[in-house]
Amino acid sequence: MIVQPSDIEKTTAWKNVVLPPITDLHKIDIYRANGGYEGLKKALAMKPEEVIDEVKKSGLRGRGGACFPTGLKWSFMPRTSSKPKYLCVNGDESEPGTFKDRQIFEYNPHLLIEGTLIACYAMGMTAAYIYIRGEYNKWIRILQQALDDAYAAGYAGANIAGSGFSANIYIHRGAGAYICGEESALMNSIEGQRGYPRIKPPFPAQAGLWGCPTTINNVETIANVSVIIKNGSKWYSEIGTSKHPGPMLVGVSGNVNNPGVFEMPTGEPLLDIIYKWAGGIPGNKAVKAVIPGGSSTMILRGERLEGVRMDADSLKAAGSSVGTAGMIVMDEDADLIRVLTRIAKFYYHESCGQCTPCREGTVWMFKIMKRFEQNLAVAEDVDLLMDIAGNIEGNTICALGDAAAWPVQSMIRLFRDEFEKRTRKVTASAIPLV
């Protein structure tokens, strides 16, 4: 599944560091023989605030969707606390088009474990919960095995590597709910409740899991922490683009010859990702559209990809975002109305129902999209969709509302003609909503 750089011709000379091509790297002996747990030892010899400083200087930004600077997030945690502090590692990975964290669980689980321990040390936590989506049971078993090995080798648990520092890592299995990837819903899910997002403030660093100071980071973010500490922040900050540096796992799916997860420096041109990394489009068809970072990110037109790169600034300038770097490529024959209908169905299915705009709006958008899909829509329906999406955006407890609105808004803005092709020439009142 992971295509190693040696397999393909590409623009950047890049050697994988998060997913290096080493056979059986998931085994602790192999991991150690390749410099594994050296980063942890290095961190344990530093002061916790020096570790946070290194992460800050590295420029690492979260890989869970929002590109938030990790070192800054860590510095929000209180130094001292009368309550325990917790780390939640987010492996819910349910954003359509995203399949990268799974590669870390499978091929480099110790990198994640090592990063988790470094993060715990830096922020003074004695327990971390790695939340993994329920369907990934096979990968949960791989990670659990790695974790058992790490405990047996003295890298996790009490008095880690003789340092006097102790921390436990527990795996918590989800049970099928996209919303549990949202950080506050994730904490409620660990607490044994329904996965309802919480109203902020308070922010997790003040009152998170069980009301205690908590940090939530994505699996790939935490894996990056290991390579930063091992190789130094300077080395890391020089990879890719300066404002959003580092190696990035980019998943490419949809209409490409060679789909998969590719590790590359940030800032690769989207066109290179499609044509060089992912082998181009079957039948040499044209690219009609690209969703750059999971289904919640705004869609881009295929003929306007020139110069657009896989980093926060470039994608923002292009009218979208990096999200989870899960690129979905659609060729000239793709039916974008069907695509959007399926996306609308997803958000309708996954809305937790706490906020009226999201609960009601996602149903309406899905129903109207079905009218387009069945060629039953009327001209006014396009504006109605825009109206509903606009009423959801910014008016909800969590970002799922925005995530449901953005694909609709961006699709209408960029592909209005697709909607118009599917409308009937009658007035809205003549047709009941299906």
Binding site: G97, E135, R173, A175, G192, Q193, V339
Partner: protein, 159 residues
């Protein structure tokens, strides 16, 4: 209700969390693995075990799509129909499965051997189309591969 091995597992899990409520999901998973699904009686049992109201357990079970309050087929098939899979032909695979098993999504076969469900993205977008049967993922599917897979499973469980 839980057997001895699973009771021991639950007791071990208590060390991992500061509250009994946090054991709800792990314990429900253990119950579902032992019983195949989570009946109302099981929910009452879990409520008593963790000292929580029955309504809380019911609320959790109904929230999560992977927790089943009714029995599923022995082989529970989930097919992802989200965008990446759709672009790579999950529609044809679903159609074929429906015919082959004479089931619609959401149904269980009369002999309780098969059940079929449409799923949201399962994290296999790069190896689409795909299905999951229980914990196992089957990826890069074709009609021929689906046929071979279902036939093999059917044969292996025929008595």
């Amino acid at each position: 209700m839980l057997n001895d091995v699973n009771t021991a597992k639950v007791n071990e899990l208590r060390n991992r969390y500061p509250t009994a409520q946090a054991l709800v999901l792990p314990v429900l998973w253990i119950v579902q693995e032992q019983e195949g699904y989570i009946s109302e009686d099981s929910m009452k049992y879990v409520a008593a075990l963790l000292g929580l109201p029955f309504g809380h357990i019911l609320g959790v079970v109904t929230f999560y799509t992977m927790l089943h309050s009714k029995p599923t087929g022995k082989h529970h098939i989930e097919i992802c129909t989200n965008v990446s899979c759709m672009l790579r032909g999950s529609g044809k695979i679903l159609e074929h499965l429906e015919k082959k098993l004479a089931l619609k999504p959401g149904e269980v076969s009369a002999d309780m051997r098969w059940s079929l469900e449409e799923a949201e993205c399962l994290g296999s977008c790069g190896t689409a189309p795909m299905i999951a049967i229980g914990d196992e993922y089957y990826e890069n599917l074709t009609i021929a591969k689906i046929d071979a897979l279902i036939d093999t499973i059917a044969k292996s469980t025929d008595d």
